[in-house]
Symmetry: C2
Subunit: 302 residues, 2 copies
Amino acid sequence: METIKNFDDLIAHLSQKGERKRVAIVWASDDHTQEAVAEGLKGGFVEALFVGARKEIESSDLLRPYADHFTIIDSDDKDDAAAKAVALVREGKADVLMKGLINTDNLLHAVLNKETGILPKGRVLTHVTATEIPTYPKLIFFTDPAVIPYPTQEQRMEQVRYVADLCHSFGIEEPRLSLIHCTEKPNEKFFPFTIGYKDIIDEAKKGTFGKCIVDGPLDVKTSCDLEAMQTKGIESPIAGEADALIFPDIEAGNVFYKTVTLFCGAETAATLKGPLAPVVLTSRGDSIKSKFYSLALAIISA
Amino acid sequence: METIKNFDDLIAHLSQKGERKRVAIVWASDDHTQEAVAEGLKGGFVEALFVGARKEIESSDLLRPYADHFTIIDSDDKDDAAAKAVALVREGKADVLMKGLINTDNLLHAVLNKETGILPKGRVLTHVTATEIPTYPKLIFFTDPAVIPYPTQEQRMEQVRYVADLCHSFGIEEPRLSLIHCTEKPNEKFFPFTIGYKDIIDEAKKGTFGKCIVDGPLDVKTSCDLEAMQTKGIESPIAGEADALIFPDIEAGNVFYKTVTLFCGAETAATLKGPLAPVVLTSRGDSIKSKFYSLALAIISA
């Protein structure tokens, strides 16, 4: 496949492929969720399983044209709808789980339920985002701006695995993943996690994450700009062309997310990885575009 | 005074004021340092005290026109030059210390020397940056992208004090300082530092930092965008118009610094606060503009 370099490419790829993935959507009573799903139905890559909010869905002019490609499953309250949607994933009847007008905490409660949930024991739940920044020639994938506060070495290893997989699903043959830190020097005393970076790099060399290049510590600038890297006298196979940034902690990841969207005009798409199916958890602050791209991101990685 | 809203305003303000501050420059043998200092001499706000590198300074065509406003102090090696420049500050003969072609560590060694240095006992050394982002209507001051790994409560209190002072020197009557965190909710379990934010806010209300508004935790977006704040249902006197961002740690601050400069076309100026005089510590990767603005930032805060 050709490499997907931006969100237009992603949508074109999914439409062209013409395979509909089954998306279980919890309580899609709001316009934003309905619009995002309608776009996916129109693009020919979504089969929608709406759980709850029958009245709002049946009365939606946006959704009506695609009635052949959606089903409504009744539910009287949001927590029940979340549980039913999660069950669809567990029973292999849905490929993606998507949040509508329900609190994130309530949806996650169903996802993480030890008996009826969909996070297998020992699997790491983390948040992966793809961003299209107007001043960078390709998408940047990054983790984790929203879920894991300070990743352990084991959690970071899984983050690298998820992100490498995601890059591969975008047709990036040998993605370049940069392990972020404020300088390029490991520092055991103040930043013990930077010592663990070497083990992750070694695992990558062994092929643990498939074909990919992992290096670090590097800062954001030297990861994404060859000239900045060379000016600092750094040698790295990332070569200023990072496809992905693995942030040391949630604060750093969140600053990147908020800064590129607010100040750089960047679009984003995000999904939760770890559960049996990717989970689309968009929030009120996200644009409709961002919700649609998030759905597409989850679908390509499902 | 009128509020300084960008770096052009800053240079115009200093030129108009016409007061020359004495800048001790350690080993200014490189073009970039010479150009930045020449701009300050030309602008009428720098009296240069070059320490070391006599030959390179005497042969500089850039500096020659301003010979009435600089002095060269001889020194045979860089460490000696650093010590002499630091001594000028300690003896009250220089208002600003500036790095030329010497390693940062070597210069800091002289600054931090317990007997002959210029960091008074108990004072916090931190890095403050001002950035002009094309998509924001005023400068944003932030700390700390480069020096303190994980600030203690006491260190953060001093960071707030330095930044508030700096904002005042830019003519911002009541600056709005945002204490950054990935969400707006304090969280003792995972992010104990967010609990300390309340004490800083209380201190600000008592007037400890002069006239200013301090609030948090807030993320970057809700700090700098009223609509984002309102969409999330947050109430904060920052009102999406932050003048300054106090980052929780060096990783977050560094990501902001690198992201705005690489992806948003932002200019920056930086200085070290804490020592008896502000210290201009530009690095190889910085543009000449950035070096010049850093010098100007140090001068207005001296």
